[in-house]
Symmetry: C2
Subunit: 126 residues, 2 copies
Amino acid sequence: MTAPDSTPPPNVPRACPITPVLDIVFSRWTTPILWTLHHHGRQRFVELNRNVGAITPKVLTQRLRQLERDGLVVRTYHPEVPPRVEYEISPLGLSLAPLFAALTDWSTSHLPAVERARTAFDSAGP
Amino acid sequence: MTAPDSTPPPNVPRACPITPVLDIVFSRWTTPILWTLHHHGRQRFVELNRNVGAITPKVLTQRLRQLERDGLVVRTYHPEVPPRVEYEISPLGLSLAPLFAALTDWSTSHLPAVERARTAFDSAGP
DNA sequence: CAGAATCCTTGAAGATACTG
DNA sequence: CAGTATCTTCAAGGATTCTG
């Protein structure tokens, strides 16, 4: 409802401005990974693999690469005899903390309403 | 890094507490839909279909059903000769506004850093 | 240990009709 | 108009195996 639009609407109205962020922050598995790194601190690959949940090494690697590329996670390679690799949150990754906090807040205060809406909807028209 | 854990770690560490919210708020197309409803106000199905972007009626219906079931969107059916259905954001849906604002803020202040991280990463190891 | 390679399955999304 | 009904595609995700 704010300003009508600086670009009237030629044809494709830019859907919504936060869409690009979603691919960065809310791709599947990224929040569990960031959460685990934030709460368990620096971890090696296998630890992470255990702590995050039911994730396979392949997918974990994919997501870690993406997070590393986006600068949210720092990967440290130690060239030792069994190789050792450690992952930790970057400052940029930590900048997401207030966002996640806001999400948690919304969850605690409004998730019950969602649950109620669901049961109401489901009991209305089976 | 906060408390080590009230539940030591029996086996499955609950991945991260915001995961359930993501399915509610950040399923694909939900943010463009909510955004459009928020900025263009109450709309009928076809308007919405045009305003949201490249979405097909089928998918739009699916997402609208989900949003309605979760209580984020209100659907009003007018039994007229050509049927008329209108969609609008509910108060519960509007409660997401601060969250989206936080997301927008993070985007404006940190997206450039992500871009830089990406180019740095890409130019490092081709 | 930290992945890379391979194959496979699934499910969401798109395209295209059709209907009350 | 506001969807529903099918059909098809396609890529993410999972399972498994292998290696520097």
